[in-house]
Point group: C2
């Protein structure tokens, strides 16, 4: 059972295994450092680190199963002594990483691995996929949180995420960024998230009259009912919700809310608010859902929509405006010497690195990327050593800890960088010693 959550070392590009075969044949076991970072991406001013919890569990477990080896053998690509080597291979490296929930910027290392080259190489694909996808989700969710200006958001994306793993990770990532809940029941179970949801149009359609659906639902969930009121006519639906809510009140129950899922959300939400308020139902919340993302949330609120909470789905679940990031894992040190590939327009920073962050009056003021061994007074080093010789050396933070970390980071990020429309580059510079180290290569 413990292993069922691990995807295993075959979750990799074949070239990781062929390169490793060649290193093995040459008995090249020198130590390498790889750095994971995101190249400049115009669609995002900042990123939110995520995925580390899963990475640590996977590396801790790292092991080719008998079945994995049997599969590799039958490809007839590899020699037997290499297969025996892989059988006994474990991850024995050191890992430095940004804690989940930390805000970071382009070109800053998210994670650095130092290990015998074969180990450091084989995990490349897994690290890129895991950290990359979860960072995409968390960064997108943070933009929505900003746009919602304190209104609760609920993740409704499961039906349209790119597969099962994405569905689960979007729910967790959204929670890191401060979403109040998710419709995703399995994610609720797995990550201990509040789950949320009531009814669909199909439910209302199965009753002869809309109001019958509301009465039936209130009977089953007298203290936890949100009625979907747009199946036929939203304002008429609101009147029916009022009628049922008043009958519920007579029996000692309160309607929690109504949900709008289509139409002119500004006009309708204000109309519904008026109907509810006039009936003395000021505490009944208005939920809205309809393909929202940070842009639509921002525009609806700017236009005065009377929406108390948003169900946020598809566009956030696939990060529609930036469905991938240029995330890379580059060799920066090999056998004691710094290394980098020189490509026009593509910077790779050689050497073991650290990010040093300056905070002034509780605001992030600027980052310096330096050598890991540097000490900078008054600046906080952001990368933490999380593994030593293949063993996890940090306690797994609770989701609450991760949420607090994000909240503190986001609170310290100056407003201009939170813009969902404008590109604003946070000041990140290189230390003199890091610059010098690049010249030595």
């Amino acid at each position: 059972m413990t292993s069922s959550r691990h995807i295993g070392p075959l979750f990799t590009d074949l070239y990781e295994l062929t390169m490793a075969a060649s290193y093995f044949q040459q008995q090249s076991f020198a130590t390498a450092t790889f750095s994971l970072f995101i190249r400049d991406t115009v669609a995002r001013n900042y990123f939110v680190a995520a995925g580390l919890e899963e990475v640590l569990a996977e590396l801790d477990f790292f092991q080719f199963s008998e079945e994995d080896i049997a599969y590799l053998k039958q490809t007839r690509m590899f020699q037997d002594n290499y297969m025996r080597y892989l059988e006994s291979l474990r991850f024995t490296g050191d890992v430095y990483a940004l804690p989940e929930g930390t805000i970071f910027f382009s070109n800053e290392p998210i994670l650095e691995v130092t290990a015998p080259i074969i180990e450091a190489q084989i995990i490349e694909t897994y690290l890129l996929n895991t950290i990359g996808s979860q960072t995409i989700f968390t960064s997108k969710a943070a933009r929505c949180i900003h746009a919602a200006k304190g209104r609760p958001l609920i993740d409704f994306s499961l039906r349209r995420t790119q597969g099962q793993d994405a569905g689960l990770k979007v729910a967790r990532s959204a929670a890191i960024a401060g979403f109040a809940g998710t419709s995703n029941v399995l994610a609720g179970k797995r990550y201990h998230l509040p789950i949320s949801g009531t009814m669909a149009h199909s439910y209302v359609s199965t009753f002869d009259h809309e109001i019958d659906a509301f009465y039936a639902y209130a009977e089953t969930f007298p203290d936890n009912a949100v009625f979907l009121i747009d199946t036929y006519d939203t304002l008429a639906g609101a009147q029916k919700a009022v009628k049922v809510a008043q009958d519920m009140r007579k029996r000692g129950h309160e309607l929690q809310g109504v949900r709008l899922d289509s139409g002119d959300m500004v006009f309708l939400s204000r109309g519904v608010r008026e109907i509810l308020d006039e009936a003395g139902l000021r505490d009944v919340k208005i939920y809205a859902s309809s393909g929202f993302d940070e842009f639509e949330i921002d525009q609806l609120l700017a236009k005065g929509a009377a929406i108390d909470a948003f169900g946020v789905g598809t566009k956030v679940g696939v990060s529609a405006d930036a469905p991938y990031l240029d995330i890379v894992y580059k060799l920066v040190k090999f056998d004691g010497r710094n290394v980098r590939k020189l490509s026009p327009g593509k910077v790779t920073l050689a050497g073991d690195k650290q990010i040093f962050r300056e905070t002034k009056n509780d605001n992030m003021a600027g980052d310096i990327i330096g050598l890991r061994k540097e000490i900078m007074a008054g600046r906080q080093p952001l990368l933490i050593q999380v593994m030593h010789e293949g063993k996890c050396i940090v306690e797994k933070p609770s989701l609450e800890n991760i949420q607090s970390n994000f909240k503190a980071n986001f609170g310290a990020l100056p407003e201009q960088y939170k813009s969902i429309y404008e590109i604003k580059r946070f000041p990140v510079r290189l230390s003199d010693r890091l610059i010098d180290a690049q010249k030595d290569i």
Copy 2:
């Protein structure tokens, strides 16, 4: 072990379970039919059905585990008799679906479920996610296959897909559309796909000289080597590859290919081809990879790039130009009567349906969406009954069968609808009887 591949019924939106709780309390077990389809999507002229294999395995297994029930109980949202009901719930419905690899169009039913309302409702989220995501991937891959005009494509997307499941499903989906292989080792193992891959820039960087990397790699893989030649200077890299290939030939081995991963691909591929040809290495293939999608493949070939095969990654793995589809699952029949939600601009076709396809001179000529019970001479009904009373009644097709089905479908799709640039709507109309059935509601 058999259950480890099943995600289970908690992979659902909470509202499926709350609606079901209300149906249960009312003892509403009437039969419902839901239809799964994609609303008009400008970015795609056609879609390729995928995901059915997994759906059938999941529905066949459908069962809440003790752990699932324990989780639901501790939410304190549900009554005990409903929990006992869910414990014994199995899927007992009928399913009609398009075989994987079938080409279909907007508003056509991909899958229709007829089952007691609770069963049909609870599987909604899972069906949308599974069929939706795999159809997105397969449809994107088909566009690349078209653009490549017969040149082999290899899936390199694993490092940047939206999570683990997406990584595996992209590889399978790409194979359905005719990709020649994947870099994804786990997908190779799981779906019996050819796997492919050789070396990264980091490998070349660990050697003092580029040519040493080629010699070392050729030693390990003398009959299966592709050298990455753009780490420093592509044309100089090609010269070194020639030198190593000539030495390999003396020992009875042939270099398989070289790979370009950056730079002006038209200029460089032609230059490299010339260098290889002049050295008598006409059979050495030129592979190219660099964030390609159907648009770049098309443009490179139009400009005369000398590329024999493409490694296709990120943009295809997330379907970057259309990362989600407006896929929906709508109630179309309940307790013997046809049902539909009437929303402006959103058509739902009530009733049990079938797609009837006309083919003329081996070309698809037009589809009619009709009632399932209709018989149309000279037209092929596309939806197949795949489950009867909860049991799968079709043999699981091999991947080869699915590939053949796609190939036959794609071969019959007139060229104009294959355009990756122009929006061309394939003729799909409704049968008179289906239109009449809409009026009865």
